[in-house]
């Protein structure tokens, strides 16, 4: 049955309803806690197994050892090589935020955050370098 | 597996030792023929065995041969039959099946562009999917085409 103006009732109802759209930068959207956005790195946990690097579909993540120059310690006459320490560099322009690295990490050193406002005017600012505390300490020295 | 067997038998009866048919799993049939009779087989399947639908055509490279896989379906019992046509890379001639099923045209153009298979009788038209300026003898899905290989070709238009 063809009838003109079939939608008018909904239109008039909507005149007295609150609109559903918001003005984005002023009103923030509600982000679910399950949302996958920027990747966070816990340097103390990383063991440098490189599973994340191997499985990254976008070739965005790099795990770099920072303490090649650290000297081995001697305990009871035995030389124990220093525990290897790593930093993580993620290129946010390449990252597709699939979260495969967080899933594959055997020690849960990587995790997803809900920080989605990552756009930037500068390409260099998109390279997210998450340093190991050792690096900053050795620089101070 | 009754329907699968039926199709298998009728195909083997018609083409005897020129065809290898295998029912690997439920509703899936795999057949292998030489490229010079693939057109006849498909024609037989559409005319006699009530096949109606071509899902797609896949091209692959296996050693010295191209393998062209026709994924065909009969609506009646919805069996997906993958017909494998084998043709040598040195002389990649294949007869078009657009006369049997016109919907094959884009898939065959893809074979021409991506593998360099010479599809005989393909209706004229635009290239797909490569742009018009792409060199005629470069076929992106060939295994021997690597980054270094590609850099030998002159820049478009020069």
């Amino acid at each position: 049955m063809a009838r003109p103006l079939r939608a008018w009732r909904e239109l008039v109802k909507n005149l007295f309803r609150k609109h559903v759209t918001g003005q984005y930068p002023h009103t923030k959207p509600v982000i679910d806690k399950n949302y996958r956005a920027k990747i966070l790195f816990d340097a103390n946990k990383c063991i440098g197994c490189n599973i994340c690097v191997r499985n990254c579909p976008a070739d965005a993540i790099k795990i770099i050892q920072v303490n090649q120059d650290e000297k081995p310690t001697e305990v009871d006459g035995k030389t124990i090589p220093a525990k290897r320490k790593f930093k993580c560099v993620i290129d946010l322009a390449k990252c597709v935020y699939c979260g495969q690295c967080t899933d594959g990490c055997p020690v849960k050193a990587l995790s997803s955050s809900q920080d989605f406002e990552l756009a930037h005017f500068n390409r260099e600012a998109l390279i997210d370098e998450m340093k190991h505390p050792y690096e900053t300490e050795s620089k101070k020295k | 597996m009754k329907n699968e067997e039926k199709i298998k038998q009728s195909l083997e009866k018609q083409f005897s030792d020129k065809i290898e048919v295998e029912a690997r799993s439920k509703q899936k049939l795999w057949a292998k023929v030489d490229a010079n009779i693939s057109h006849d087989v498909i024609k037989y399947m559409f005319d006699e065995l009530k096949f109606q639908y071509l899902a797609t055509i896949t091209g692959t490279e296996e050693g010295d041969n191209f393998e062209v896989l026709y994924h065909l379906q009969a609506d009646e019992h919805s069996i997906l039959c993958t017909l494998r046509a084998v043709l040598p890379i040195k002389k990649p001639d294949l007869k078009t099946i657009t006369d049997i099923i016109p919907g094959a045209i884009w898939y065959e153009r893809e074979l021409v562009d991506m593998f360099g298979i010479n599809v005989i009788g393909l209706p004229k038209g635009n290239r797909y999917p490569l742009p018009d300026g792409w060199p005629k003898d470069v076929h992106p899905l060939r295994k021997n085409l690597t980054q270094e290989e590609l850099s030998k070709y002159p820049k478009e238009g020069k």
């Binding site: 063809a2 399950n34 949302y35 | 899902a55 692959t60 896989l69 635009n126 850099s151």
Partner: protein, 397 residues
Amino acid sequence: MPKITVPLGPQHPALKEPGSFMLSLEGEEIKDAVLRLGYNHRGVEKAAEARNYVQNIYLLERVCGICSHAHATAYVHNVEEIAQLEVPQRAKAIRMIVGELERLHSHLLWLGVAGHEIGFDTLFMYSWRDRELVLDALEEISGNRVHYSMNSIGGVRRDMSNEQIKKVLGILKTLEKRIKYYITVGTEESTILARTQGVGVLPKDEALKRCATGPQGRASGVDRDVRRDNPYLLYDKVDFKVITQDSCDVFGRLVVRALEMVESCKILKQVLENMPSGDIAVKAPIKIGPGEAVNRYEAPRGEDIHYLKANGTDVPARVKVRAPTLANFESVAYMLEGDTLADAPLIIAAIDPCFSCTDRMSLVQTGTGKSGIMSFKELRAYSIEEYKKKGIDFSKL
């Protein structure tokens, strides 16, 4: 009357994605349509041969933004078939839930786009508003709004909690009401009927000849649905109807999609209310094969077919993707001829085209052998050079 050639695309407000239709017009009537595709070829199939099986899930998911789950699932089915993995029931149920939610969101999106093509922006705004509910549900289940990344080889990555199940059921209740409203508006509003009935007619025999799939084929009476014919996941355990129409026009496609949304809600309810318990994934090997598999998946836009050949290493030997839009393209030229220019955008939109699926770029420049990301300056220089060949000089701009 002189003939005018009007380009519809590659850049045109009616087509959000690049595809070119050269329409020869006599007055308002289309006499001839020439199609050109491939503007969006990204070489996904070639790229897949250089990545391992895990990376490929995410690569193939990005074949399309709307039916991302469809492509990933079809691929994962292939890998699982070759590796002979038994996927747990709960994982299958979750894959199905995401798949059907995806169908709802895709059909609502289509309804909005179709409304916009015929200038009915109100329908566009309403259906996209309601689509937001589906996207919110998907965001909560999977962690993203469009690229869900739910699949892993051998199962799914995230489990669903009971609260999430309840929430999705609540959303379905609202959606069912809204879908009913769209069905009344879509089938009764006289201007919509005037624009869709008898437009873009594709008779059944032509649809069969041109291999039309999905809602496009079903609206022409081609009774074909992979979910019923070759049941995958748990589709053999749920009760649903395959919607077909005999009107063969855009109106039929609208009705098919609208009623399919009702069926999707039905399927979702059955699955959500009888969720199987157990694990959500089994462990998958890194090296797969050798072997080959072909699998189909009923994506929202039609049948999606994937072929995979494995050679025993951790990278596949050949991945073939055929997205539903490519199968439906052959019928577009047929439908356009004889209709008017005003109908062209709607006819093209009625197949729910997705050109990026169709043309599946890693940028490789011939001559320099360089690959990677082009900067804005390089791209500009390249374009200026291209246009110089055509006799237009943009270098002074």
